[in-house]
Structure formats: C-alpha cells, structure tokens
Amino acid sequence: MISVSPAALLFRLRALIVLIALVAAFAAMSPAFLTGGNLTILVKHVAINAILAVGMTFVILAGGIDLSVGSVAGLAAIIAGGLIHSGLVLRSFGVVVYFHTWLVIVAAILGGVLVGAINGLLVSQLRVAPFIATLGSLYVARGTALLISNGATFPNLDGKPELGNTGFPALGAGALLGIPAPIWLMLLFAAAGMFLAERTPFGRRVYAVGGNQRAAELSGVRVKRIQCATYIISGGCAATVGLIIAAQLDAAHPATGETFELNAIAAVVLGGTSLMGGRGGVGGTIIGAFVIGVLADGLILMGVSEFWQIVIKGLVIVLAVVLDQMQQRYSRRAGAAWRS
C-alpha cells in the first residue's frame, strides 16, 4: 500500500467526517437530537433512502442512471396493497384469489424487478439513453399504479386470518431486538450491496463497464447482461422500499415514493460515486444517505424553515461534488508524475 499523507486521508474520508461533524453539531445545539426516540425515527427515514440508493449505486457505477425508482416503489406498494386488500380478481372464473403474505411480497418485488428488466433491456439492447429510458418507465410505472388502484388508496393492510394474509405491516412496524424492521433491512441491503460490489466478479465487472465499456467487452465481460442486472437490482431495491412504506403506513397509496429518485441520486453522489461511472461504492452511498437524513432531521429540530432546508440540501450536494472533483484532480496530478 502507498503511504498516504494524513491530510489526504482526511480528505478522502470527508463524507464520514462531515457526517460525524453534523451529528456532533446537532447534538450540541439540540438536546433532543441524541435521544433514542429521535435517532430511531432518523434512521428509519434514512433506511428508505439508503435501500433505494444501494440499488442506484450499481446502476450509476455501471455508467447509467435510474429515474424510475420512486415510481417503482409506488407500483410495488400498490401491487401489495391491492393483493392484500382486494385480492386477484379472475373475472372469467368468477373467483377472487387471496395470496399468502409472503407471496404478496414476492409478487410486488417481481413487479419492481420486471420494470428494472425492461429498463435494462431498453438501455442495453435498444441502446436508449438511460436518462430517457428510465424517465419513460417513471411515468409508465406511476401511471400503472394509478390505474390499478384507480387513483385511490388501499387502506388497512392487516389482512384477514381466514384468508391467510396477515402480518404485512410487520415489515414496517415490526422489530427485532428492539431495532425496527426497516433498519434491519437497510443493514441487510447495505451489507449485501457492499459484498456484491467489492467481493464478487459481478461487482468488479460493474466497475469495469462503468470505467471503460469497450475494454470490458474486449476482456470478455458481457456488458449488456451487466447493465441489465444493475437495473434489475435497482428495481428490486425500489420495490422493497415501496413495501416498507406501505407497511409503515398500513396503507398503499399510488403516489408512494414520488421524487424519491432524486434523494437516492443525491445520496449516491454525496457518497463519492461518480456520475460518469466506474468510481465509488456502496459504503459511501450509505454515508451519503445518512448525511442527507441527519441534515434534514437536525435542521427540523433546530426549527430551521422548511424552505431553507431545501436550499441547504442543494448546496451540500453541489459542495460534495466540487470536493470530489478537487480530489480527482489531486490524485490525477499525483498519478501524472509517474506517467509523464
């Protein structure tokens, strides 16, 4: 390993340092910040964005972008809500089928995976620009969610014991060892994402595709499959988020997840992943999601106006990217010495 000067190391870890500084500052300024109740609420909020952002990280690392995640979350929520609330109506047979809760969850996640697969095929096979392909599915998925529920909310997702579909709200409100289910899910997704990115051939190939698609292809990487897989991962993550939200609210609303794609992208970028692809990682994304969450929570506790919160969030995102550019220029210069 190279010996890194302490200053360079601090600079590289800046997202984590910013996070710690934010926590320390808010803790000092507001006694309510570091209470167990507040922290639980904070992390539960972060969990939603973090799970979306883990999937988004893979898409962005491979050089793409996924604008459809918020809509996919909404679609998954409506699929689950609809199946629990009104079942699957098979008109030609004159029956209504109710599924077991686990099957409902699987169906909703498959819905997200399907949208992801369509995104992936559009991008890899039909060569539609990722921005456009996923912008299209943003609308289609949201519209489909509205069509399924006819614009209405499916309330009360507790299910009925005689139908065998109870227990869904536990996904949002349940807890294990005193830690709420969404936080467990976040930890699970973060760990799985990190391992997938850092420790598997698939992960390495994602980085290679984002870094230099042609070099990857000539090295025998099946570029299209990798691209497709990243959108599928993202779709699956988004569907999970939709389920968590529906479970937390004990109701499925077709507007679930609106504009969440922007928060997810912001977390990825704050975490140091390059929008050009090939650089970054899941660990940084989780830190990025926490920075956004802590900032929002802390500013609310401080009584900062909601409008100022939006301005501050925007400034923080831009500042993060500026710092990122500075670091890359620095490391390129250090590299240039060898290359000259």
Partner: protein, 506 residues
C-alpha cells in the same frame, strides 16, 4: 557552435510531485528557426517538460525565459498570449464541429459579435492549401480519416501564428506521404523563425527532421548534440543508459499443430463499404504470424471479427477445429482466444480501476471461490505476472494511470495471459511505447511462442513484424495481398504488397 538565438528557455526547472521528482534541474533551450528533438523513454519526463513549456504544468523550481526575459506561465491561455502552441499526441478536436470551426475555436472571427463563417472558412481553406491538403473547411471533423484530422490539428496551431510549436508524436497517425508533407511544413515554419520541439518514438524520422537532439532520462537531461553528429545507436544508448544491440531474439521453436483457421471472412461497413474481403489464414502453435498493412487495411477489423465483435461478418473461424460461429467475445475467450487492442486508452485499460483490477478483469472467474472473489488468489496471480513481464509499478492497488505507457501495455498483455489463451492476438502492441519497453514486449512475444502459444502480431511498423514474426501476411483494402517468410524478404516487397494492391482495388 555559435551561441544560438534562443527564443524560449527553461532554466534549471524541476517539478516535484508528491513522492516523485518528475524533472530534476533541467535546462532546455529552443533556438529560433530550429527543430529541437526531445527524446526519452516513457516516464523520462518529456511530456512533463513539454507541459511546463506549454503552460499546462508549473515547475516547482527554476523558470522560463522568453527572449531572455523571465516569464511566468500559469495556464495555456498565458502560453497562447506568448504565441506558444502545442499539438498533443491525442487529437484535441471536436468531431461535431466543422474543420473551420475547429481551427478557429476560442478565437472565432466575428462581425460585431456575430460569427463570420465565410471569413473562417476562407482562413481555413488558405491554411489547408498551404499544407497541400485541400479539405473542405465545412466538413465535420468526425467525418475525416485520422490522418486528415491530424492535419487539422496542425492547422489549428498554425492559425494561432505561433513562434514556438511543440509537437508530441505528430506522425503516429500519418502515412508516409502525409509525413513528407508535414516535414515540408516544419521546414517552412522554421524558415519563418518558428522554434519547434519535436517528440517522437520514430528515431529515423526524428534524425531526418531535427537540428539538435536532447535526451532525457529519469527526469534529467543526460545528453545534447547536433543531430548530424549522432546516430540511432547513440540515441538508444543515451536513452536506456546501456549499450545498444538488442538482445538476440530466441530462435523460433518448432511449430506445432494448426490452432486457428480463418476462411472466407468478409465484413461490410454500415455504409456498404467492404472492410474485409474473403480473408483466409491459418496459424500454428508456436508460430508468430505478422500482419502488416497501412492504416485502413482492415487489420483491426480482422482481429475484431476473430474476437466476435462483428456477429454480422460472413465466413468461418475455427479454433482447434472448433467452429466459433455464434460465440460472443466472452465465449471466445473461454475457448482460448485473447486480444490486446490497439488503442490503450479507448479500449485497452480501464482508467478508473487499479493495476490489479485491470490485470485480472478478463480472468476474474479463475479468482472466485464460490460466489466470492479471493483477493489473495488475485494478488498472487498478478504479482507473478508483474515479475514475469517485468512490469514497473509502485503498487498493484494503485491506479493504472500511475504507470507509464509501456507498463500499461504490459498490464493489458498480462490480463490476456491470465486467461491462459492458446491464440493471442496483438494489435499494434508497441504503439506509443518507448524503445526499451518495445524490445521487451518483442522478446516476450517470442518467448510465449516458443512455449507453444500461437500469436498474431498486427502492426503498421515493418520493423516490428520483421523482428517478431515467422511469417508475414500483408493486407490492403480489406484483402490479404501477400504472404512472405520473415527472413529473406525485402522491405520494399512488403511495402509494395501493402500499397500497390490498394491502388488496384481502389
């Protein structure tokens, strides 16, 4: 030597990067109206020195003098104001803009703030005529062949009316005829008093055009001489710091059974232009086949077809009597083919990854234990290749960009070798690589062949095919136009097979 009339001088410049001294107290003078050649292996500091002279990098010690007055250059704009220009090795053109728009970029001709396209076109046409290249100034640059793009790049510098012009490998994309034109332009410029810095790996051509030769090694200026007083041997010795005379190449071993067979391979471009016409060839184990041809002969397309990048190609390819039809690149690599592509930056390496990740990319599955990658297995395999190919790196986990061109090329080669190929395809394996690394790569090729690998070396350098291949295939306009044994064939026989047929089929 009478004291020359120096335009630009770098006096005692040093440039220290964290961890390295890229330039160490270098003094370099550019006399008015002379061509000063700057030579050195990759990593010797040539590009760094040129960057300082062009305002792209700033020295940490020492200073620049223009006409004897000390100047500070903080940016390319400053250099521009001093009328110091640079032509980069990689072309800096906007393919979407026209020739004239590229030439006038950032100093557009206007009438009261509105673009004056006609005057721009006229200026471009005049300058292009001076270079004997009457390209239509309204053509989008992206539509031009590479050689003409290089000409546009040169015109762009001329339009700035420079007094100092730096040329970094200006001929790497040019044909012999285009090089002759370039040399006439250089002489024309020097006659007008322009001082020229000329960097090239092609030593013969360099001695032809340069007035003086300066050799850098490890960031220090180790030798300077009038070019008339030196020869290639002298230069190579100063560059490498060891006596010349390439190590004798290992004798060709006995060739084994046929491994690769290509029959009636044809490929047509989207616009209907034939890229490959009925190409047939065979390659035996232990044999090196040289494929020689000029730019556009279809050599790269041939290799791309072999790797499965053009599924629409007609004809058949057998590897070890297995038909490869319908297999994609990954399946062909699994079958025993591997390729080091021509353009290192665009298709060879992944800039954002480490040396290690670049090296193991193609053979990743070999380093997986179940679903996980084994970092130790990766490290072991990569470290073995580092010592086997003598790759100079400060650390496997460092970014690939920290390596010199020659060492990056060796990493690309190592990546192929880690898939344990039986047939290795090398496209211009030493382009943009210094002399030392070049001969090393050549001897690696011979060693691999003597160990039984079948190797194809595609090159536009006669010398390269000559000193590596057992047998030489010449291509022109997408067709094989000749086959020769490597020994006992005159250069001009090869050259004419590469060009006469081109005219016939034109």
């Amino acid at each position: 030597m009478t004291p020359p009339d120096v335009v630009l001088e770098a006096r005692g410049v040093s440039l220290r990067y964290p961890g390295t001294l890229a330039l160490d107290n270098v003094t370099f003078r550019l006399p008015r109206g002379k061509v000063s050649a700057l030579i050195g292996e990759n990593g010797a500091g040539k590009s760094t020195l040129v960057k300082i002279l062009a305002g792209i990098a700033q020295p940490t010690a020492g200073s620049l003098y223009l006409d004897g007055r000390k100047i500070a250059m903080r940016s390319v704009r400053d250099a521009d104001a001093h009328r110091i220009g640079i032509i980069h090795q990689e072309l800096n053109l906007c393919p979407n803009l026209s020739v004239a728009e590229n030439i006038c970029l950032a100093r557009e001709l206007t009438v009261r703030g509105v673009l004056d396209k006609r005057r721009q076109d006229d200026l471009a046409r005049r300058l292009l005529a001076r270079l004997e290249h009457p390209i239509d100034p309204r053509t989008p640059v992206g539509d031009l062949p590479l050689g003409q793009q290089q000409i546009v790049e040169i015109v762009k510098a001329l339009a700035r009316d420079v007094r100092v012009l730096m040329m970094d490998e200006p001929t790497s994309a040019l044909s012999a005829a285009e090089i002759a034109v370039l040399f006439r332009i250089i002489r024309d410029l020097t006659a007008r008093g322009v001082a020229i810095v000329y960097i090239s790996h092609r030593l013969q051509e360099l001695l032809e055009i340069a007035d003086s030769v300066s050799v850098l090694r490890d960031g220090r200026m180790v030798a300077e001489a009038d070019s008339g007083a030196v020869d290639i041997r002298w230069i190579v010795e100063r560059m490498t710091g060891r006596p010349a005379g390439a190590a004798p190449l290992p004798q060709a071993g006995r060739t084994g059974p046929e491994l690769l067979r290509v029959e009636r391979l044809s490929l047509t471009a989207a616009n209907g232009r034939p890229l490959l016409r009925d190409v047939a060839l065979h390659l035996r184990s232990g044999e090196v086949l040289g494929v020689y041809g000029l730019m556009g002969a279809g050599r790269t397309e041939l290799l791309e077809c072999l790797m499965g990048l053009h599924p629409e190609a007609a004809g058949s390819v057998w590897l070890d009597s297995k038909n490869l039809a319908g297999l994609d690149t990954a399946a062909r690599i699994a079958a025993g083919l591997a390729m080091v592509p021509e353009d290192r930056q665009a298709s060879g390496i992944v800039q954002s990854l480490s040396v290690l990740a670049n090296m193991t990319l193609a053979g990743l599955d070999r380093f997986a234990r179940g679903p996980w990658l084994s970092p130790s297995a990766e490290m072991r395999a990569a470290a073995a290749k580092v010592s086997e190919l003598r790759i100079k790196t400060s650390g496997l986990r460092h970014n690939i960009g920290s390596l010199s061109g020659g060492n990056q090329q060796k990493v690309a080669l190592a990546r192929c070798l880690l898939t344990e190929p039986r047939v290795l395809l090398l496209d211009e394996p030493t382009r943009g690589v210094d002399v030392g690394a070049k001969s090393e790569i050549h001897s690696i090729v011979r060693h691999l062949a003597s160990a039984g690998m079948a190797i194809m070396v595609v090159s536009s350098e006669l010398e390269e095919v000559r000193c590596t291949a057992d047998r030489i295939l010449v291509m022109s306009r997408g067709a094989v136009t000749g086959e020769f044994p490597a020994t006992g064939t005159a250069d001009d026989a090869l050259a004419s097979a590469a060009s006469i047929a081109a005219k016939e089929t034109a």
